[in-house]
Protein backbone atom coordinates (compact mmCIF):
# COMPACT_ATOMS: atom_id res chain seq x y z
CA UNK A 1 0.00 0.00 0.00
CA UNK A 2 2.78 2.42 0.90
CA UNK A 3 4.28 2.27 -2.58
CA UNK A 4 1.20 3.62 -4.29
CA UNK A 5 0.81 7.29 -5.29
CA UNK A 6 -0.31 9.85 -2.72
CA UNK A 7 -3.89 10.03 -3.81
CA UNK A 8 -4.55 6.35 -3.29
CA UNK A 9 -2.64 6.05 -0.04
CA UNK A 10 -5.25 7.91 2.01
CA UNK A 11 -7.42 5.85 4.41
CA UNK A 12 -10.47 4.00 3.20
CA UNK A 13 -12.77 6.58 4.72
CA UNK A 14 -11.58 10.16 4.35
CA UNK A 15 -13.11 13.27 5.80
CA UNK A 16 -16.91 13.48 5.76
CA UNK A 17 -16.99 9.71 5.99
CA UNK A 18 -16.65 9.20 2.24
CA UNK A 19 -14.73 6.48 0.49
CA UNK A 20 -11.51 7.42 -1.24
CA UNK A 21 -13.06 7.12 -4.68
CA UNK A 22 -16.08 9.23 -3.80
CA UNK A 23 -13.82 11.85 -2.28
CA UNK A 24 -11.67 11.98 -5.38
CA UNK A 25 -14.73 12.33 -7.54
CA UNK A 26 -15.97 15.12 -5.32
CA UNK A 27 -12.65 16.96 -5.66
CA UNK A 28 -12.83 16.54 -9.40
CA UNK A 29 -16.36 17.89 -9.46
CA UNK A 30 -15.37 20.97 -7.47
CA UNK A 31 -12.29 21.57 -9.62
CA UNK A 32 -14.24 21.26 -12.85
CA UNK A 33 -16.86 23.68 -11.60
CA UNK A 34 -14.05 26.18 -10.98
CA UNK A 35 -12.64 25.57 -14.47
CA UNK A 36 -16.07 26.21 -15.96
CA UNK A 37 -16.22 29.41 -13.95
CA UNK A 38 -12.83 30.43 -15.40
CA UNK A 39 -13.97 29.71 -18.95
CA UNK A 40 -17.15 31.62 -18.26
CA UNK A 41 -15.14 34.50 -16.79
CA UNK A 42 -13.27 34.98 -20.09
CA UNK A 43 -16.60 35.23 -21.88
CA UNK A 44 -17.96 37.50 -19.14
CA UNK A 45 -14.95 39.82 -19.39
CA UNK A 46 -15.51 40.11 -23.11
CA UNK A 47 -19.22 40.73 -22.70
CA UNK A 48 -18.56 43.33 -20.00
CA UNK A 49 -16.07 45.37 -22.02
CA UNK A 50 -17.61 44.99 -25.46
CA UNK A 51 -21.18 45.08 -24.19
CA UNK A 52 -20.67 48.22 -22.15
CA UNK A 53 -18.91 50.11 -24.93
CA UNK A 54 -21.46 49.00 -27.53
CA UNK A 55 -24.49 49.84 -25.37
CA UNK A 56 -23.10 53.26 -24.51
CA UNK A 57 -21.80 53.97 -27.97
CA UNK A 58 -24.42 52.63 -30.33
CA UNK A 59 -26.93 55.42 -29.61
CA UNK A 60 -24.42 58.05 -30.77
CA UNK A 61 -23.40 56.20 -33.92
CA UNK A 62 -25.25 57.41 -36.98
CA UNK A 63 -24.46 58.12 -40.59
CA UNK A 64 -23.96 61.75 -39.64
CA UNK A 65 -21.43 60.73 -36.96
CA UNK A 66 -19.47 58.77 -39.56
CA UNK A 67 -19.39 61.44 -42.25
CA UNK A 68 -18.93 64.66 -40.28
CA UNK A 69 -15.50 65.79 -39.08
CA UNK A 70 -14.65 66.22 -35.39
CA UNK A 71 -15.01 69.88 -34.37
CA UNK A 72 -12.89 69.61 -31.24
CA UNK A 73 -13.55 71.53 -28.03
CA UNK A 74 -14.10 70.25 -24.51
CA UNK A 75 -17.41 68.66 -25.47
CA UNK A 76 -15.85 66.75 -28.36
CA UNK A 77 -18.41 67.98 -30.87
CA UNK A 78 -18.77 66.46 -34.31
CA UNK A 79 -18.19 63.06 -35.85
CA UNK A 80 -15.18 60.97 -36.81
CA UNK A 81 -14.95 61.21 -40.62
CA UNK A 82 -11.38 62.55 -40.73
CA UNK A 83 -10.14 59.91 -38.29
CA UNK A 84 -11.64 57.17 -40.45
CA UNK A 85 -9.87 58.62 -43.49
CA UNK A 86 -6.56 58.85 -41.62
CA UNK A 87 -6.92 55.27 -40.43
CA UNK A 88 -7.55 54.04 -43.98
CA UNK A 89 -4.55 56.00 -45.34
CA UNK A 90 -2.31 54.69 -42.60
CA UNK A 91 -3.43 51.08 -43.11
CA UNK A 92 -2.80 51.36 -46.86
CA UNK A 93 0.61 52.93 -46.29
CA UNK A 94 1.88 50.48 -43.68
CA UNK A 95 0.64 47.42 -45.56
CA UNK A 96 2.13 48.51 -48.87
CA UNK A 97 5.46 49.12 -47.12
CA UNK A 98 5.56 46.03 -44.93
CA UNK A 99 3.79 43.37 -47.03
CA UNK A 100 6.35 43.02 -49.87
CA UNK A 101 9.27 43.01 -47.43
CA UNK A 102 7.59 40.72 -44.94
CA UNK A 103 6.42 38.20 -47.52
CA UNK A 104 9.84 38.30 -49.19
CA UNK A 105 11.56 37.65 -45.88
CA UNK A 106 9.17 34.80 -45.06
CA UNK A 107 9.73 33.21 -48.46
CA UNK A 108 13.49 33.44 -48.03
CA UNK A 109 13.48 31.98 -44.54
CA UNK A 110 11.35 28.98 -45.54
CA UNK A 111 12.23 28.29 -49.18
CA UNK A 112 15.84 29.36 -49.48
CA UNK A 113 17.42 29.47 -46.02
CA UNK A 114 17.17 25.70 -45.55
CA UNK A 115 19.37 24.85 -48.51
CA UNK A 116 21.84 27.51 -47.45
CA UNK A 117 22.39 25.76 -44.13
CA UNK A 118 24.60 23.43 -46.11
CA UNK A 119 26.85 26.25 -47.27
CA UNK A 120 29.93 26.93 -45.25
CA UNK A 121 30.91 30.37 -44.08
CA UNK A 122 28.92 33.52 -43.57
CA UNK A 123 25.46 32.94 -45.07
CA UNK A 124 24.06 30.32 -42.65
CA UNK A 125 25.19 32.47 -39.77
CA UNK A 126 23.47 35.49 -41.30
CA UNK A 127 20.28 33.45 -41.63
CA UNK A 128 20.42 32.51 -37.94
CA UNK A 129 20.90 36.14 -37.00
CA UNK A 130 18.06 37.19 -39.32
CA UNK A 131 15.73 34.79 -37.50
CA UNK A 132 16.87 36.29 -34.22
CA UNK A 133 16.02 39.71 -35.69
CA UNK A 134 12.43 38.67 -36.43
CA UNK A 135 12.04 37.10 -33.00
CA UNK A 136 13.35 40.21 -31.25
CA UNK A 137 11.25 42.57 -33.32
CA UNK A 138 8.11 40.59 -32.49
CA UNK A 139 8.69 41.13 -28.78
CA UNK A 140 9.55 44.83 -28.81
CA UNK A 141 6.83 46.85 -27.06
CA UNK A 142 5.05 49.27 -29.37
CA UNK A 143 6.14 52.43 -27.56
CA UNK A 144 9.75 51.54 -28.45
CA UNK A 145 8.74 51.53 -32.13
CA UNK A 146 7.19 54.92 -31.47
CA UNK A 147 10.34 56.20 -29.81
CA UNK A 148 12.44 54.91 -32.70
CA UNK A 149 10.08 56.43 -35.25
CA UNK A 150 10.20 59.72 -33.38
CA UNK A 151 14.02 59.75 -33.31
CA UNK A 152 14.60 58.62 -36.89
CA UNK A 153 11.64 59.72 -39.00
CA UNK A 154 10.17 62.66 -37.09
CA UNK A 155 13.44 64.27 -35.94
CA UNK A 156 16.49 63.01 -37.83
CA UNK A 157 14.88 62.76 -41.28
CA UNK A 158 12.66 65.83 -40.70
CA UNK A 159 9.44 64.12 -41.78
CA UNK A 160 7.83 65.76 -38.75
CA UNK A 161 4.68 64.41 -37.12
CA UNK A 162 3.17 63.00 -40.27
CA UNK A 163 1.47 60.16 -42.05
CA UNK A 164 4.86 59.18 -43.49
CA UNK A 165 6.63 58.97 -40.12
CA UNK A 166 3.73 57.02 -38.61
CA UNK A 167 3.51 54.76 -41.67
CA UNK A 168 7.19 53.87 -41.53
CA UNK A 169 7.11 53.22 -37.78
CA UNK A 170 3.88 51.23 -38.17
CA UNK A 171 5.45 49.15 -40.96
CA UNK A 172 8.27 48.16 -38.58
CA UNK A 173 5.62 47.14 -36.04
CA UNK A 174 3.73 44.77 -38.35
CA UNK A 175 6.72 43.39 -40.23
CA UNK A 176 7.29 40.48 -37.80
CA UNK A 177 3.56 39.62 -37.90
CA UNK A 178 3.65 39.31 -41.69
CA UNK A 179 6.94 37.39 -41.72
CA UNK A 180 5.72 34.86 -39.17
CA UNK A 181 2.36 34.19 -40.79
CA UNK A 182 4.01 33.90 -44.21
CA UNK A 183 6.48 31.38 -42.81
CA UNK A 184 3.68 29.35 -41.27
CA UNK A 185 1.64 29.41 -44.48
CA UNK A 186 4.61 28.27 -46.59
CA UNK A 187 5.50 25.47 -44.18
CA UNK A 188 1.96 24.13 -44.54
CA UNK A 189 2.38 23.65 -48.31
CA UNK A 190 3.14 19.93 -48.91
CA UNK A 191 6.65 19.08 -50.02
CA UNK A 192 5.26 17.07 -52.91
CA UNK A 193 3.99 20.26 -54.61
CA UNK A 194 7.53 21.59 -54.79
CA UNK A 195 9.00 18.28 -55.89
CA UNK A 196 6.39 17.89 -58.62
CA UNK A 197 7.17 21.30 -60.01
CA UNK A 198 10.94 20.99 -59.75
CA UNK A 199 10.80 17.59 -61.45
CA UNK A 200 9.27 19.33 -64.48
CA UNK A 201 12.48 21.31 -64.82
CA UNK A 202 11.45 24.66 -63.36
CA UNK A 203 13.87 26.86 -61.48
CA UNK A 204 13.31 27.33 -57.80
CA UNK A 205 11.81 30.78 -58.29
CA UNK A 206 9.35 29.44 -60.86
CA UNK A 207 8.31 26.79 -58.37
CA UNK A 208 7.94 29.31 -55.56
CA UNK A 209 6.10 31.92 -57.57
CA UNK A 210 3.68 29.71 -59.48
CA UNK A 211 3.17 26.71 -57.20
CA UNK A 212 4.08 27.43 -53.58
CA UNK A 213 2.89 31.02 -53.24
CA UNK A 214 -0.57 30.45 -54.78
CA UNK A 215 -1.06 27.46 -52.47
CA UNK A 216 -0.02 29.51 -49.46
CA UNK A 217 -1.98 32.63 -50.45
CA UNK A 218 -4.90 32.31 -47.98
CA UNK A 219 -2.41 31.90 -45.13
CA UNK A 220 -0.40 34.90 -46.26
CA UNK A 221 -3.61 36.93 -46.57
CA UNK A 222 -4.39 36.01 -42.96
CA UNK A 223 -1.16 37.72 -41.95
CA UNK A 224 -2.05 40.84 -43.92
CA UNK A 225 -5.54 41.05 -42.43
CA UNK A 226 -4.06 40.48 -38.96
CA UNK A 227 -1.72 43.41 -39.58
CA UNK A 228 -4.61 45.61 -40.66
CA UNK A 229 -6.21 44.88 -37.29
CA UNK A 230 -2.94 45.64 -35.54
CA UNK A 231 -2.69 49.06 -37.21
CA UNK A 232 -6.34 49.92 -36.54
CA UNK A 233 -5.96 49.18 -32.83
CA UNK A 234 -2.43 50.53 -32.33
CA UNK A 235 -2.17 53.78 -30.43
CA UNK A 236 1.19 54.16 -28.71
CA UNK A 237 3.27 54.25 -31.91
CA UNK A 238 1.02 56.80 -33.57
CA UNK A 239 0.63 58.89 -30.43
CA UNK A 240 4.28 59.88 -30.72
CA UNK A 241 4.63 59.96 -34.53
CA UNK A 242 1.33 61.00 -36.10
CA UNK A 243 0.81 64.35 -34.39
CA UNK A 244 -2.87 64.06 -33.50
CA UNK A 245 -4.33 66.77 -35.74
CA UNK A 246 -8.03 66.17 -36.26
CA UNK A 247 -7.94 67.38 -39.88
CA UNK A 248 -7.75 64.89 -42.70
CA UNK A 249 -4.20 64.66 -44.08
CA UNK A 250 -3.85 65.79 -47.70
CA UNK A 251 -0.23 64.78 -48.18
CA UNK A 252 2.21 62.24 -46.75
CA UNK A 253 3.80 64.96 -44.64
CA UNK A 254 0.54 66.02 -42.95
CA UNK A 255 -0.27 65.01 -39.38
CA UNK A 256 -3.48 63.23 -38.50
CA UNK A 257 -5.21 61.03 -35.93
CA UNK A 258 -6.54 57.52 -36.26
CA UNK A 259 -9.81 56.32 -34.73
CA UNK A 260 -7.96 54.67 -31.84
CA UNK A 261 -6.02 57.87 -31.16
CA UNK A 262 -9.29 59.80 -31.32
CA UNK A 263 -10.68 57.59 -28.55
CA UNK A 264 -7.62 58.40 -26.46
CA UNK A 265 -7.86 62.16 -27.04
CA UNK A 266 -11.60 62.19 -26.37
CA UNK A 267 -11.16 60.21 -23.15
CA UNK A 268 -8.25 62.21 -21.76
CA UNK A 269 -8.76 65.75 -23.07
CA UNK A 270 -12.52 66.15 -23.29
CA UNK A 271 -15.48 64.97 -21.26
CA UNK A 272 -17.16 63.45 -24.31
CA UNK A 273 -17.15 59.85 -23.06
CA UNK A 274 -20.20 59.06 -25.17
CA UNK A 275 -18.37 60.06 -28.34
CA UNK A 276 -15.37 58.03 -27.22
CA UNK A 277 -17.63 55.01 -26.69
CA UNK A 278 -19.17 55.54 -30.12
CA UNK A 279 -15.73 55.63 -31.74
CA UNK A 280 -14.82 52.55 -29.69
CA UNK A 281 -17.94 50.87 -31.06
CA UNK A 282 -16.76 51.46 -34.62
CA UNK A 283 -13.33 50.08 -33.66
CA UNK A 284 -14.82 46.95 -32.10
CA UNK A 285 -17.04 46.38 -35.13
CA UNK A 286 -13.99 46.64 -37.41
CA UNK A 287 -12.11 44.13 -35.26
CA UNK A 288 -15.07 41.72 -35.32
CA UNK A 289 -15.19 41.97 -39.12
CA UNK A 290 -11.44 41.40 -39.32
CA UNK A 291 -11.65 38.33 -37.06
CA UNK A 292 -14.44 36.96 -39.23
CA UNK A 293 -12.33 37.40 -42.37
CA UNK A 294 -9.40 35.67 -40.68
CA UNK A 295 -11.58 32.74 -39.64
CA UNK A 296 -12.90 32.45 -43.18
CA UNK A 297 -9.39 32.48 -44.64
CA UNK A 298 -8.13 29.97 -42.09
CA UNK A 299 -11.00 27.63 -42.81
CA UNK A 300 -10.37 27.83 -46.54
CA UNK A 301 -6.67 27.25 -45.96
CA UNK A 302 -7.06 24.19 -43.79
CA UNK A 303 -9.74 22.63 -45.98
CA UNK A 304 -7.30 21.91 -48.79
Amino acid sequence: MSEQPDAVRSPEHGPWGRTNLARRHLTERAAFVLLWVAGGAAVAALLAVVGYVLVQGISVVSLDFLISPPRGGLAGEGGISTTVITTVYLVALTISLAAPLGIGAGVFLVEYAGEMQGYSGLIPRVVTVARFGVETLAGVPSIIFGLFGYALFVSALHFGFSLLSAGLAGACLILPVIIRTTEEALRAVPRSYREGSLALGTTQWQTVSSVVLPAALPGIMTGIVLSVGRIISETAVFYVTLGGSSRAPTSLLDPGRTMALHVFYLATETNAFQKAMATGTILIVSIVVINAIINLLTRRFTMR
Binding site: A7, H25, T27, G133, W205, A236, A276
Partner: protein, 297 residues
Protein backbone atom coordinates in the same frame (compact mmCIF):
# COMPACT_ATOMS: atom_id res chain seq x y z
CA UNK B 1 18.97 30.99 -74.06
CA UNK B 2 15.67 30.71 -72.24
CA UNK B 3 17.29 28.45 -69.69
CA UNK B 4 19.92 31.05 -69.08
CA UNK B 5 17.36 33.82 -68.56
CA UNK B 6 15.38 31.70 -66.13
CA UNK B 7 18.55 30.95 -64.22
CA UNK B 8 19.40 34.66 -64.10
CA UNK B 9 15.95 35.57 -62.75
CA UNK B 10 16.23 32.81 -60.18
CA UNK B 11 19.59 34.10 -58.99
CA UNK B 12 18.54 37.74 -58.72
CA UNK B 13 15.29 36.91 -56.91
CA UNK B 14 17.27 34.84 -54.44
CA UNK B 15 19.40 37.83 -53.49
CA UNK B 16 16.41 40.17 -53.42
CA UNK B 17 14.66 37.85 -50.96
CA UNK B 18 17.84 37.47 -48.95
CA UNK B 19 17.96 41.22 -48.48
CA UNK B 20 14.31 41.49 -47.47
CA UNK B 21 15.04 38.81 -44.87
CA UNK B 22 17.78 41.02 -43.51
CA UNK B 23 15.45 44.03 -43.21
CA UNK B 24 14.05 43.06 -39.80
CA UNK B 25 17.57 42.52 -38.54
CA UNK B 26 18.43 45.94 -39.92
CA UNK B 27 15.43 47.49 -38.13
CA UNK B 28 16.41 45.87 -34.83
CA UNK B 29 19.89 47.26 -35.35
CA UNK B 30 18.54 50.73 -36.16
CA UNK B 31 16.21 50.71 -33.16
CA UNK B 32 19.10 49.77 -30.91
CA UNK B 33 21.40 52.31 -32.54
CA UNK B 34 19.00 55.24 -32.44
CA UNK B 35 17.65 54.71 -28.94
CA UNK B 36 21.16 54.16 -27.58
CA UNK B 37 22.59 57.11 -29.49
CA UNK B 38 19.90 59.45 -28.21
CA UNK B 39 20.13 58.01 -24.71
CA UNK B 40 23.90 58.19 -24.55
CA UNK B 41 24.19 61.81 -23.28
CA UNK B 42 21.77 60.95 -20.48
CA UNK B 43 23.79 57.91 -19.43
CA UNK B 44 27.00 59.92 -19.62
CA UNK B 45 25.80 62.96 -17.71
CA UNK B 46 23.46 61.38 -15.19
CA UNK B 47 24.88 57.88 -15.04
CA UNK B 48 22.96 54.63 -15.44
CA UNK B 49 23.28 53.68 -11.79
CA UNK B 50 21.94 56.97 -10.48
CA UNK B 51 19.03 56.80 -12.97
CA UNK B 52 18.14 53.32 -11.76
CA UNK B 53 18.39 54.10 -8.05
CA UNK B 54 17.00 57.63 -7.88
CA UNK B 55 13.24 58.04 -7.62
CA UNK B 56 13.13 61.79 -8.29
CA UNK B 57 12.08 62.66 -11.85
CA UNK B 58 12.06 66.47 -12.16
CA UNK B 59 13.02 67.52 -15.70
CA UNK B 60 12.96 71.21 -14.67
CA UNK B 61 15.74 70.60 -12.15
CA UNK B 62 17.63 68.09 -14.26
CA UNK B 63 16.73 65.22 -11.96
CA UNK B 64 16.06 62.06 -13.91
CA UNK B 65 15.55 59.08 -11.61
CA UNK B 66 13.63 56.15 -13.05
CA UNK B 67 13.07 54.16 -9.88
CA UNK B 68 9.48 55.38 -9.41
CA UNK B 69 8.55 54.39 -12.97
CA UNK B 70 10.31 51.04 -12.71
CA UNK B 71 8.38 50.39 -9.50
CA UNK B 72 5.15 51.49 -11.21
CA UNK B 73 5.67 49.07 -14.11
CA UNK B 74 6.66 46.24 -11.78
CA UNK B 75 3.74 46.71 -9.37
CA UNK B 76 1.21 46.95 -12.19
CA UNK B 77 2.66 43.76 -13.68
CA UNK B 78 2.59 41.99 -10.30
CA UNK B 79 -1.02 43.06 -9.71
CA UNK B 80 -2.09 41.88 -13.14
CA UNK B 81 -0.33 38.55 -12.56
CA UNK B 82 -2.09 38.01 -9.23
CA UNK B 83 -5.46 38.70 -10.83
CA UNK B 84 -4.89 37.37 -14.33
CA UNK B 85 -2.65 34.30 -14.16
CA UNK B 86 -4.97 31.98 -12.18
CA UNK B 87 -7.86 32.91 -14.45
CA UNK B 88 -5.85 32.59 -17.66
CA UNK B 89 -4.34 29.22 -16.69
CA UNK B 90 -7.68 27.86 -15.54
CA UNK B 91 -9.06 29.03 -18.88
CA UNK B 92 -6.27 27.19 -20.70
CA UNK B 93 -6.90 23.95 -18.76
CA UNK B 94 -10.61 24.36 -19.40
CA UNK B 95 -10.12 24.78 -23.15
CA UNK B 96 -7.60 21.97 -23.50
CA UNK B 97 -9.10 19.34 -21.20
CA UNK B 98 -12.59 19.97 -19.95
CA UNK B 99 -14.72 22.11 -22.25
CA UNK B 100 -17.24 20.39 -24.53
CA UNK B 101 -16.91 21.38 -28.18
CA UNK B 102 -19.70 23.99 -28.19
CA UNK B 103 -18.35 25.75 -25.09
CA UNK B 104 -14.82 25.62 -26.46
CA UNK B 105 -16.01 27.48 -29.56
CA UNK B 106 -17.61 30.22 -27.48
CA UNK B 107 -14.68 30.66 -25.11
CA UNK B 108 -12.09 30.51 -27.85
CA UNK B 109 -13.74 33.15 -30.01
CA UNK B 110 -14.18 35.33 -26.92
CA UNK B 111 -10.48 35.05 -26.14
CA UNK B 112 -9.67 35.80 -29.79
CA UNK B 113 -11.79 38.93 -29.68
CA UNK B 114 -10.32 40.00 -26.33
CA UNK B 115 -6.90 39.82 -28.00
CA UNK B 116 -8.05 42.06 -30.83
CA UNK B 117 -9.73 44.83 -28.86
CA UNK B 118 -7.65 48.02 -29.04
CA UNK B 119 -5.89 48.91 -25.81
CA UNK B 120 -7.53 52.34 -25.76
CA UNK B 121 -10.91 50.64 -25.53
CA UNK B 122 -9.71 48.77 -22.43
CA UNK B 123 -8.39 52.07 -21.09
CA UNK B 124 -11.69 53.76 -21.79
CA UNK B 125 -13.61 50.97 -20.07
CA UNK B 126 -11.27 51.31 -17.10
CA UNK B 127 -11.80 55.06 -16.90
CA UNK B 128 -15.57 54.97 -17.19
CA UNK B 129 -16.43 51.79 -15.31
CA UNK B 130 -13.57 50.79 -12.99
CA UNK B 131 -12.38 54.17 -11.69
CA UNK B 132 -15.74 55.22 -10.17
CA UNK B 133 -16.04 51.82 -8.45
CA UNK B 134 -12.47 51.88 -7.08
CA UNK B 135 -12.94 55.49 -5.96
CA UNK B 136 -15.65 54.24 -3.56
CA UNK B 137 -13.10 52.30 -1.49
CA UNK B 138 -12.92 54.43 1.65
CA UNK B 139 -9.20 55.13 2.00
CA UNK B 140 -7.80 58.64 2.40
CA UNK B 141 -5.95 59.74 -0.73
CA UNK B 142 -7.67 57.19 -2.98
CA UNK B 143 -8.48 58.81 -6.32
CA UNK B 144 -9.58 55.73 -8.22
CA UNK B 145 -6.60 56.13 -10.55
CA UNK B 146 -3.79 53.80 -9.58
CA UNK B 147 -2.14 50.41 -9.61
CA UNK B 148 -5.35 48.49 -8.83
CA UNK B 149 -7.19 49.91 -11.84
CA UNK B 150 -4.11 49.29 -14.00
CA UNK B 151 -3.82 45.71 -12.73
CA UNK B 152 -7.45 44.88 -13.49
CA UNK B 153 -7.24 46.32 -17.01
CA UNK B 154 -3.94 44.53 -17.66
CA UNK B 155 -5.25 41.24 -16.26
CA UNK B 156 -7.93 41.19 -18.97
CA UNK B 157 -5.46 42.30 -21.64
CA UNK B 158 -2.89 39.56 -20.92
CA UNK B 159 -5.51 36.82 -20.61
CA UNK B 160 -5.49 35.91 -24.34
CA UNK B 161 -1.66 35.77 -24.48
CA UNK B 162 -1.35 33.43 -21.51
CA UNK B 163 -4.41 31.30 -22.31
CA UNK B 164 -3.42 30.67 -25.93
CA UNK B 165 0.19 29.70 -25.28
CA UNK B 166 -0.60 27.66 -22.17
CA UNK B 167 -3.38 25.80 -24.01
CA UNK B 168 -0.94 24.87 -26.79
CA UNK B 169 1.53 23.62 -24.17
CA UNK B 170 -1.12 21.50 -22.46
CA UNK B 171 -2.31 20.05 -25.76
CA UNK B 172 1.24 19.13 -26.70
CA UNK B 173 1.49 16.66 -23.79
CA UNK B 174 1.55 13.15 -25.33
CA UNK B 175 -1.68 11.22 -25.01
CA UNK B 176 0.15 8.22 -23.55
CA UNK B 177 1.03 10.18 -20.41
CA UNK B 178 -2.62 10.81 -19.65
CA UNK B 179 -3.69 7.30 -20.62
CA UNK B 180 -1.06 5.84 -18.31
CA UNK B 181 -2.33 7.93 -15.44
CA UNK B 182 -6.00 7.17 -16.10
CA UNK B 183 -5.22 3.47 -16.38
CA UNK B 184 -3.76 3.58 -12.87
CA UNK B 185 -7.17 4.67 -11.63
CA UNK B 186 -6.52 8.38 -11.26
CA UNK B 187 -9.47 10.66 -11.92
CA UNK B 188 -9.33 13.10 -14.82
CA UNK B 189 -8.58 15.94 -12.37
CA UNK B 190 -5.78 13.98 -10.69
CA UNK B 191 -4.35 13.30 -14.13
CA UNK B 192 -4.45 17.00 -15.00
CA UNK B 193 -2.78 18.03 -11.76
CA UNK B 194 -0.36 15.12 -11.43
CA UNK B 195 0.65 14.41 -15.01
CA UNK B 196 -0.50 16.87 -17.66
CA UNK B 197 0.39 20.15 -15.96
CA UNK B 198 3.83 19.01 -14.75
CA UNK B 199 4.60 17.74 -18.26
CA UNK B 200 3.51 21.08 -19.77
CA UNK B 201 5.27 23.08 -17.05
CA UNK B 202 7.92 24.87 -19.12
CA UNK B 203 5.38 25.92 -21.75
CA UNK B 204 3.05 27.24 -19.07
CA UNK B 205 5.86 29.19 -17.42
CA UNK B 206 6.79 30.62 -20.83
CA UNK B 207 3.17 31.69 -21.33
CA UNK B 208 3.17 33.52 -18.00
CA UNK B 209 6.50 35.19 -18.75
CA UNK B 210 5.23 36.40 -22.14
CA UNK B 211 2.18 37.74 -20.28
CA UNK B 212 4.50 39.70 -18.01
CA UNK B 213 6.23 41.08 -21.10
CA UNK B 214 2.92 42.18 -22.55
CA UNK B 215 1.95 43.83 -19.26
CA UNK B 216 5.23 45.72 -18.92
CA UNK B 217 5.05 46.85 -22.56
CA UNK B 218 1.49 48.19 -22.49
CA UNK B 219 1.28 51.96 -22.84
CA UNK B 220 -1.95 53.74 -23.63
CA UNK B 221 -4.32 51.85 -21.33
CA UNK B 222 -1.84 52.48 -18.52
CA UNK B 223 -1.70 56.22 -19.15
CA UNK B 224 -5.49 56.28 -18.96
CA UNK B 225 -5.97 54.56 -15.61
CA UNK B 226 -2.79 54.60 -13.52
CA UNK B 227 -2.78 58.34 -12.74
CA UNK B 228 0.72 59.06 -14.08
CA UNK B 229 1.99 60.83 -10.97
CA UNK B 230 5.68 60.35 -10.42
CA UNK B 231 5.79 58.84 -6.96
CA UNK B 232 7.30 55.69 -5.58
CA UNK B 233 4.14 53.63 -4.91
CA UNK B 234 3.61 53.13 -1.18
CA UNK B 235 0.64 52.14 0.97
CA UNK B 236 -1.80 54.99 1.62
CA UNK B 237 -2.29 53.94 5.26
CA UNK B 238 -1.17 51.24 7.68
CA UNK B 239 -2.72 48.50 5.55
CA UNK B 240 -0.02 47.36 3.09
CA UNK B 241 -2.67 46.38 0.53
CA UNK B 242 -3.52 50.06 -0.01
CA UNK B 243 -0.29 50.18 -2.00
CA UNK B 244 -2.45 49.11 -4.92
CA UNK B 245 -4.58 52.25 -4.53
CA UNK B 246 -1.49 54.42 -4.89
CA UNK B 247 -1.07 56.30 -8.15
CA UNK B 248 1.99 55.54 -10.23
CA UNK B 249 3.55 55.96 -13.64
CA UNK B 250 4.93 53.22 -15.86
CA UNK B 251 8.14 53.33 -17.91
CA UNK B 252 6.05 53.19 -21.09
CA UNK B 253 3.77 55.98 -19.89
CA UNK B 254 6.73 58.15 -18.99
CA UNK B 255 7.95 58.03 -22.59
CA UNK B 256 4.57 58.59 -24.20
CA UNK B 257 3.45 61.44 -21.94
CA UNK B 258 6.59 63.54 -22.20
CA UNK B 259 8.33 62.79 -25.50
CA UNK B 260 6.40 65.24 -27.68
CA UNK B 261 7.56 68.34 -25.78
CA UNK B 262 10.88 67.21 -24.26
CA UNK B 263 14.14 68.78 -25.40
CA UNK B 264 17.82 68.47 -24.54
CA UNK B 265 18.79 66.31 -21.60
CA UNK B 266 15.13 65.68 -20.82
CA UNK B 267 14.64 64.09 -24.25
CA UNK B 268 17.82 62.07 -23.80
CA UNK B 269 16.55 60.83 -20.45
CA UNK B 270 13.32 59.66 -22.12
CA UNK B 271 15.35 57.67 -24.62
CA UNK B 272 17.26 56.25 -21.68
CA UNK B 273 13.86 55.22 -20.28
CA UNK B 274 13.31 53.43 -23.58
CA UNK B 275 16.63 51.63 -23.29
CA UNK B 276 15.81 50.45 -19.77
CA UNK B 277 12.39 49.26 -20.96
CA UNK B 278 13.92 47.56 -24.01
CA UNK B 279 16.49 45.69 -21.92
CA UNK B 280 13.82 44.67 -19.41
CA UNK B 281 11.56 43.30 -22.16
CA UNK B 282 14.49 41.57 -23.89
CA UNK B 283 15.35 39.74 -20.67
CA UNK B 284 11.72 38.74 -20.14
CA UNK B 285 11.09 37.60 -23.71
CA UNK B 286 14.34 35.75 -24.25
CA UNK B 287 13.86 33.75 -21.07
CA UNK B 288 10.40 32.76 -22.36
CA UNK B 289 11.81 31.88 -25.78
CA UNK B 290 14.55 29.85 -24.13
CA UNK B 291 11.94 27.82 -22.26
CA UNK B 292 9.85 27.28 -25.39
CA UNK B 293 12.88 26.13 -27.38
CA UNK B 294 13.95 23.80 -24.60
CA UNK B 295 10.54 22.14 -24.74
CA UNK B 296 10.73 21.57 -28.48
CA UNK B 297 13.95 19.62 -28.07
Amino acid sequence: MDMRRRYLVDRSVRYLLFFSALISLFIVFMIGLFTLREAWPAFREIGLLSMLTNSEWRPGRDQFGLLAMIAGSVWAAIGSMILGVPLALAGAIFLAEVAPVWMRGIVRSSVELLAGIPSVVYGLFGMVVLLPVIRKIPVAGNTGFGILAASIVLAVMILPTITNIAEDAIRAVPREYKEGSLALGATHWQTIMGVTLPAARSGIVAAVILGVGRAVGETMAMIMVIGNSIVLPRPLNSNPLTLFLSQARTLTGNIAVEISYATGLHEDALFATGVVLFVLIMIINSSANLLIRERRR
